[in-house]
C-alpha cells in the first residue's frame, strides 16, 4: 500500500469510460495525417512543383504563421509542414480535456470521493489520469508514425513524437490547472488558454523574419513539436525539452495535490451573495449567469487571436519581395491587394468555424442542465420548456454574434494598425465577421435539432462542429470533391472581404437555421425531460 495504490484499476476505469471518446479523437487525427500525405503526393507529384510551393510559402510570413515554416520539400516533409502546426495543437487539446475529465471533473461530481474511500492511494487518481493522457498521446503518436511510414521511418517517428510530445505536455499542463480551481470548466478554460498562448507564440515565432522574435516559438511546446524537424534532419535533442518539461509539470501537479484537501482548489472560492440580485430574476438571467464565464473566455481569446492574425496579415502585402514568380502569380490574380483580402477572408472564415464550436458548446449547456438534474427545478416552476431552452439559445446566438464582431474588429484593428488604416479596416472587418453568423447559427441549429429529437445523441452536435472545422481547415488541400466541401455551411458564405456581400446565402442559411431550431424546440416540447 502506498500513495499510488490502485492506479492500475483507475486507468482501466478511465479507458472503460472513454472507450468511445478516445478513439473518436485518435482515429480521425491519425487518418487526417494519412489523408494529407496522399493528398500532397497527388497534388505535388514532382519535386519541382513541391519546391515552387515551398518557395511561395517561405516568402509569406502570414502563411508561415499559420502553417509554420517549410523545412523540407519531400512528400513527408510537406505533410509534416502542413499538419505540423494544427496537429500537435489538436493532440494537446485532446490530452488536456482528457486529464481534466479524469481529475477535477471526477472530484467536482463527487465520484472521486467514492473512489477515494476505497483502497486508492492519495496520488493514484492524478497518476491514473496522467497515464491515460500520456497513453492516448502516445497511441496517437504511433498511428501518425505508422501513417507516414511509407515516406521513411525516421521522419515518421519524429513526426509521431511531435504529436505525442505536445499531447503529453498539455496533459501535464492540465494536471496542474486541475489543481488550481474547484471547477472543471475553469480548469479546462485555463489549460485551453495556455494552449492558445502556445499556438500564438509559435505563430509569432514562425512569422518573424530575420531579426524578428523567432525565439518566441521556442517558448511553446507547439513550437518544439515543429522544431523536431521531421524529414528535415531530425533534431532529436528537441525531445529533451519535452522530457524536461513534462516531469517538472507532473511533479508540480503532485505537490499541489499533496497540499490540498479533496474538493478544494488553490484559488480561493469566495462566499456568494445572500440573495439573488435583480438581474437573476428569470430563466434569461439564469442562462446568462451560467454562460457568461465561458463567453468572456472566448471573447478574450477572439480579441487576442484577431489582433495577432490581423497584425501578421501585413506579411502577405510584402509577399512578392524577393520572389518574382510568386509576385507575378499574385498580379495575375488581381494584385496583392486581393491576396490580402483573400487571406483576411480565410481568417474570418476560421473565426466563424470556431465560433460554431462555441455555439454548439453553448447549446449543449441545455443538455448538461438536463442530465445534471438542474433543469428539473426550473421546469417544475412556472417556466415553459421553450422559454427555458430559448434563454440558453439566445445566449448562444448573441454570444456567437459578439464573438464574430469582436474577432472581426480585432482583425481590423490588428491589420489596420499595421497598414495605418484602422478607421477603414475596422468596420469592414467587423462586417466580414458578422457575415459568418448565419453559418454559425446553422451549425448551432443542427445541434438544437439533435438535442430536441434524439437527446441521447446530443453530443453529436460536437461532431457536426468539428467536421465543419476539419473540412474548412483541411478540405481544400485534400482536394475533396465539391459535394464533400459543400457539407460545410461555411463554403456557402460569400468570401468577405475579398468578395462582395451576397445577401441570398445569408438569408437562406438564416431561414434554414430558424426552421431547424423550431423543429428542435417542437421535439423538445414533446419528449421526456431527463
Amino acid at each position: 500500500m502506498n500513495d499510488l495504490t490502485g492506479t492500475r484499476a483507475l486507468v482501466r476505469l478511465a479507458l472503460r469510460r472513454d472507450r468511445i471518446m478516445i478513439p473518436a479523437w485518435v482515429l480521425p487525427l491519425g487518418l487526417l495525417v494519412i489523408a494529407m500525405r496522399s493528398a500532397i503526393s497527388g497534388l505535388y507529384p514532382t519535386q519541382a512543383s513541391r519546391t515552387s510551393l515551398a518557395a511561395s510559402m517561405a516568402a509569406n510570413g502570414s502563411l508561415r504563421a499559420l502553417y509554420g515554416p517549410v523545412y523540407d520539400t519531400g512528400i513527408g516533409g510537406l505533410t509534416a509542414w502542413r499538419m505540423g502546426s494544427t496537429g500537435p495543437a489538436l493532440a494537446g487539446l485532446m490530452a488536456l480535456l482528457l486529464v481534466v475529465r479524469h481529475t477535477r471533473e471526477e472530484e467536482e461530481d463527487g465520484r472521486l470521493e467514492l473512489l477515494g474511500a476505497g483502497a486508492i492511494g492519495r496520488r493514484a487518481p492524478l497518476a491514473a489520469a496522467l497515464l491515460t493522457g500520456f497513453g492516448t498521446s502516445l497511441a496517437l503518436a504511433a498511428i501518425v508514425t505508422l501513417g507516414l511510414l511509407p515516406q521513411g521511418a525516421t521522419g515518421a517517428l519524429a513526426f509521431g513524437l511531435a504529436f505525442g510530445g505536445a499531447g503529453c505536455c498539455y496533459a501535464a499542463v492540465a494536471a496542474v490547472t486541475a489543481q488550481l480551481t474547484q471547477s472543471a470548466r475553469a480548469a479546462k478554460g485555463i489549460a485551453g488558454a495556455l494552449l492558445g498562448v502556445g499556438y500564438l507564440l509559435r505563430a509569432t515565432g514562425d512569422a518573424a523574419g530575420p531579426g524578428g522574435p523567432g525565439w518566441a516559438a521556442w517558448l511553446s511546446p507547439l513550437g518544439w513539436a515543429e522544431r523536431l524537424r521531421p524529414y528535415a534532419g531530425e533534431r532529436w535533442w528537441v525531445l529533451g525539452l519535452f522530457a524536461g518539461a513534462v516531469p517538472v509539470l507532473v511533479a508540480l501537479a503532485h505537490s499541489l495535490v499533496a497540499r490540498r484537501d479533496l474538493d478544494a482548489g488553490l484559488l480561493p472560492s469566495r462566499p456568494g451573495p445572500e440573495g439573488a440580485g435583480r438581474r437573476l430574476s428569470g430563466v434569461f438571467g439564469l442562462a446568462w449567469r451560467l454562460q457568461r464565464g465561458a463567453l468572456c473566455g472566448w471573447l478574450s481569446g477572439y480579441a487576442v487571436a484577431g489582433l495577432v492574425l490581423g497584425a501578421i496579415t501585413k506579411g502577405a502585402v510584402s509577399l512578392g519581395n524577393g520572389n518574382k514568380s510568386v509576385a507575378d502569380e499574385l498580379n495575375s490574380l488581381g494584385g496583392t491587394h486581393n491576396l490580402v483580402d483573400s487571406f483576411l477572408a480565410t481568417m474570418v472564415s476560421f473565426l466563424g468555424m470556431l465560433a460554431a464550436v462555441y455555439a454548439v458548446q453553448a447549446v449543449l449547456r441545455l443538455r448538461g442542465e438536463e442530465i445534471g438534474g438542474r433543469a428539473e427545478p426550473v421546469l417544475a416552476a412556472a417556466v415553459g420548456r421553450i422559454r427555458w431552452a430559448a434563454a440558453h439559445l439566445l445566449v448562444a446566438a448573441a454570444g456567437s454574434a459578439a464573438l464574430l464582431a469582436v474577432g472581426g474588429l480585432a482583425l481590423g484593428v490588428g491589420y489596420g494598425a499595421a497598414v495605418g488604416d484602422v478607421g477603414g479596416q475596422l468596420p469592414r472587418m467587423a462586417g466580414a465577421g458578422l457575415v459568418q453568423l448565419p453559418a454559425v447559427l446553422f451549425v448551432a441549429a443542427v445541434a438544437v435539432l439533435i438535442l430536441g429529437a434524439v437527446p441521447r445523441l446530443a453530443l453529436a452536435g460536437w461532431t457536426v462542429a468539428s467536421l465543419t472545422l476539419a473540412l474548412g481547415l483541411y478540405g481544400p488541400l485534400l482536394r475533396l470533391s465539391r459535394w464533400a466541401l459543400d457539407l460545410s455551411v461555411f463554403t456557402h458564405l460569400p468570401r468577405v472581404p475579398s468578395a462582395p456581400v451576397a445577401a441570398a446565402p445569408l438569408v437562406w442559411l438564416t431561414a434554414l437555421a430558424a426552421v431547424l431550431t423550431a423543429a428542435g424546440l417542437a421535439a423538445l416540447r414533446r419528449r421526456d425531460i431527463g
Partner: protein
C-alpha cells in the same frame, strides 16, 4: 371539492422497464398524503409525470384543475417541488437559488425565507458546490416552504437531514397543513409518514397496492400478542385470523389480524392472563409485508 391530485391507471415505460404499471393516486385538497414505496417502486417517475416532465404512456392524471402535461406552466405557478436528489448550480449561492426558484414561480415571501433560513440553520452565502447533501436539500426546502404554493410535492425530502432538522421539517409540514395546503410526501421513512400523513398510498413496482387513512391501513395489519396464561391455550390455533402461533407451555406468542382481535382476546382471557403484551400494528409491518412479498416474487 375536487381532489388536488387524481391519477388513474397511469402507465409509463422506459425501454423495457415498466416504471409505472397502472398507478392510482388520489390526494384530497388540504391533506398530507404519504406516498410510500421501496426504492425503484416508481415514486419519482410518478412525480415527474405529475410535473409534466415525463409524458405518461397511458392513463389519466389531473393536477389541481388541469392536465399536468398540457397546462404545466399554469399549474406550476401554484405548486412547489423539492426533488429527491437536489443538484444546485455550482457557482450560485444558496440564497440566490432560493430567490431564483421563488421568482420563477412568481414570488417569494422574503420574511418567511429569513425565518426558514434561521430555523433550518442554513448559510445562504455558500456556493452550490460547497453544500453537503443535507444542506442542498435545505435550500430546496426553504425555497418550497417560502413560496405561497397551494400544493407541495416533496420527493424524499429528508433523506439527508439530521434528526434535529427532520423535526424542523415536520413542523413546517404541519404548518403548511394548518394553512390549508396540500402536501404530497414521497418517502420510504415510515416513522415520518406515520407522524405527518393523513392518508397514505403504498406503491410497489409502479402499482398502488394499498391506499387509505392510517387507521384504515392499520386495520389491514396484524397485532402482535405475547401472553403468559394461567393454563394451556386451547383452541387459539382454530380461531380465524391467527398467524405464527408459537406456544411454549403457558407462554404464547401470536399475530392476529386486527379485525379478529376481539375474538382472540376473549379466548385468551377465558383461560386467564398473568401477563400480556400487545403491540399495535405499525406501518412498518404493512410495508414490510408488501416489500417481502416483492422480494419473494423475485
Amino acid at each position: 371539492m375536487n381532489s388536488a391530485i387524481e391519477v388513474t391507471s397511469l402507465h409509463k415505460a422506459f425501454g423495457r422497464t415498466q416504471a409505472l404499471d397502472g398507478l392510482d393516486l388520489t390526494v384530497a385538497r388540504g391533506e398530507v398524503h404519504g406516498f410510500l414505496g421501496p426504492n425503484g417502486a416508481g415514486k419519482s417517475t410518478a412525480i415527474r409525470v405529475l410535473l409534466g416532465l415525463l409524458r405518461a404512456d397511458r392513463g389519466q392524471a389531473r393536477l389541481l384543475d388541469g392536465d399536468p402535461w398540457r397546462d404545466a406552466v399554469r399549474l406550476h405557478a401554484r405548486l412547489a417541488y423539492v426533488p429527491g436528489d437536489v443538484t444546485l448550480w455550482r457557482n450560485l449561492s444558496g440564497g440566490e437559488v432560493i430567490d431564483l426558484l421563488g421568482r420563477l414561480r412568481g414570488g417569494l415571501d422574503q420574511h418567511r425565507k429569513q425565518e426558514l433560513l434561521r430555523r433550518f440553520e442554513l448559510d445562504p452565502t455558500k456556493k452550490g458546490r460547497t453544500y453537503s447533501k443535507g444542506n442542498r436539500q435545505k435550500v430546496a426546502l426553504v425555497a418550497a416552504f417560502a413560496s405561497d404554493a397551494e400544493l407541495l410535492i416533496l420527493d424524499e425530502p429528508t433523506s439527508g437531514l439530521d434528526p434535529l432538522m427532520e423535526e424542523v421539517f415536520r413542523e413546517c409540514v404541519r404548518e403548511e397543513r394548518d394553512r390549508g395546503r396540500t402536501v404530497l410526501l414521497s418517502s420510504h421513512i415510515l416513522s415520518e409518514v406515520e407522524a405527518l400523513c393523513d392518508r397514505v398510498s403504498i406503491i410497489r413496482r409502479g402499482r398502488t397496492v394499498e391506499t387509505g387513512t392510517l387507521a384504515e391501513l392499520r386495520h389491514l395489519t396484524r397485532t402482535s400478542i405475547t401472553a403468559e396464561l394461567a393454563g394451556p391455550p386451547n383452541g387459539l390455533a382454530r380461531l380465524p385470523g391467527v398467524h405464527d402461533l408459537d406456544v411454549h407451555g403457558e407462554r404464547v406468542a401470536l399475530q392476529v389480524d386486527t379485525d379478529q382481535l376481539d375474538a382472540v382476546l376473549r379466548q385468551i382471557t377465558s383461560v386467564g392472563v398473568r401477563a400480556l403484551n400487545c403491540t399495535p400494528p405499525t406501518l412498518d409491518e404493512l410495508f414490510l409485508r408488501h416489500y417481502r412479498s416483492e422480494t419473494a416474487a423475485r
